[in-house]
């Protein structure tokens, strides 16, 4: 049992953009980083309508699958100006964009290896708590097949919703909060 009760979540509301928008928000990796690309996507609701008041945040390892963080038992590494965190509000058409690099594979439990992946938080007006999903990469077929998360999804889960698509300047990753193509979301 925990000693203190956890503070509950509330919606970011319609006006989060005044507080959560950073000029460099979308740049998990700064402009000019070697190998950097854009992940672009659109967030839609159960009617297929774009969600214009949504914020998407990403968190990931570096190209070597390492973190600048003490809780990584392999030790923290110095990330220089790589931030690992991307934050993008959506525009009127529900579109977001994150500038980043491809993460390396990251060890999982019991000797498994996780395929390169990016954790994603989605928050919006009309959402009382965040939802969490993951971005995987289409060219990592073998690693994806061995990934402990992807390979243990329930049969009914639409695993293809977790795989980004190649695009001209990087990847496309759409988020469907509800409906026919509903994205797989995780209990975190």
């Amino acid at each position: 049992m925990s000693k203190l009760g956890v503070t509950p979540s509330q919606t970011v509301g319609p006006y989060f953009a005044i507080g959560l928008t950073w000029e460099d928000g979308p740049y998990a990796a700064p402009e000019g980083t070697e190998g950097a690309f854009w992940i672009r996507g659109r967030v839609t609701d159960g009617n297929g309508a774009p969600i214009p008041d949504c914020v998407v945040e990403t968190w990931q390892a570096d190209a070597d699958g390492r973190f600048a963080h003490d809780d990584d038992p392999r030790g923290a590494v110095d990330w220089g100006d790589f931030r690992g965190l991307g934050r993008s509000g959506t525009d009127d058409d529900g579109r977001f964009a994150i500038h980043t690099i491809k993460p390396g594979p990251v060890p999982g439990p019991s000797g498994t290896m996780q395929a390169p992946h990016i954790d994603v938080t989605v928050m919006a007006r009309g959402m009382l708590a965040r939802v969490v999903t993951r971005i995987y990469f289409p060219e990592e077929e073998a690693a994806n097949a061995a990934d402990p998360v992807l390979s243990s999804l329930p049969a009914t889960a639409a695993s293809e919703t977790l795989i980004a698509k190649k695009s001209e300047d990087g990847y496309t990753f759409d988020v469907h909060l509800q409906g026919e193509n509903e994205t797989v979301f995780f209990d975190i």
Binding site: S2, S9, W59, V106, T112, V184, D187
Partner: protein
């Protein structure tokens, strides 16, 4: 917290999942906009692995010197009741969460947000943006100076008014701890009719979002002090299954 490397597996801290029991449901009829913005499929359990137990370490270079003081961001002072809000960011084990970014945003004293979509006929204040940022200190303490926000109307139902609140955003030290919530003021008469406040199922848990008035931080002829501690999910001492020999 256990964190060490084994030969064939990596062991990382795991965080409590008690938020699943206390957070509002994503599908909540009282808040109409949730209807088409919640997933209908069951969430898939994600074990806490390296990406989930780490999180951004943001430098203080992100901050301006006066980002913690929302009353000193313009040439003149904003209109309204000057107040401070301070407290600690802790995890559910009672451990402070140091050096973590706390971001806030709020309406002005008239209940109007400086946002292009907020167009109800409450006055804007040219001296108030309504945005603050600070880092917690080594003991997890944070402090903002601001003016007390007003209540504001919204279109959820007839005569709908949100109780006065300040939005808080926290990263904690791990992706699992990410929290966006709202801080309310004690005794607000609007609580009973507010679907967002009441979306938290347990009335006792709702009270965790309510700040308290505090004489110790109230300053004579200057400002009213309010206190509010924020509790993020703490680590759970759980070890992954040992690999087969």
């Amino acid at each position: 917290m256990t964190d060490y490397q084994t030969e064939s597996g990596i062991v990382v801290p795991s965080y409590t999942r008690e938020n699943a029991q206390i957070d509002p449901p994503l599908d909540y009829a009282g808040y109409r906009s949730t209807e088409f913005r919640h997933p209908k499929n069951p969430l898939v359990l994600l074990p806490h692995m390296l990406t989930e137990v780490t999180g951004p370490v943001l430098g203080e270079s992100r901050l301006g010197q006066l980002d913690y003081d929302l009353t000193r961001q313009h040439d003149d002072e904003p209109i309204g009741q000057r107040m401070s809000i301070s407290g600690r960011v802790l995890d559910s084990d009672g451990r402070p969460v140091p050096n973590t970014l706390v971001e806030i945003w709020q309406a002005n004293a008239a209940g109007r947000y400086r946002h292009v979509v907020d167009d109800w006929p409450g006055p804007l204040d040219p001296n108030f943006t309504g945005v603050g940022r600070c880092f917690t200190d080594s003991e997890g303490r944070y402090r903002f100076v601001t003016i007390r926000p007003g209540a504001y109307p919204w279109k959820n139902h007839h005569n709908a008014w949100r109780p006065a609140h300040i939005h808080f955003s926290l990263f904690g030290r791990a992706f699992t701890q990410r929290l966006v919530t709202q801080m309310y003021f004690p005794g607000d008469p609007l609580f009973s009719e507010d679907p967002i406040f009441n979306s938290v199922p347990d009335p006792k848990v709702r009270e965790r979002m309510v700040s308290s008035f505090d004489w110790d931080t109230t300053e004579d002829h200057w400002l009213l002090g309010f206190k509010w501690d924020i509790v993020l999910r703490g680590p759970e001492a759980v070890v992954f299954e040992e690999p087969h020999a």
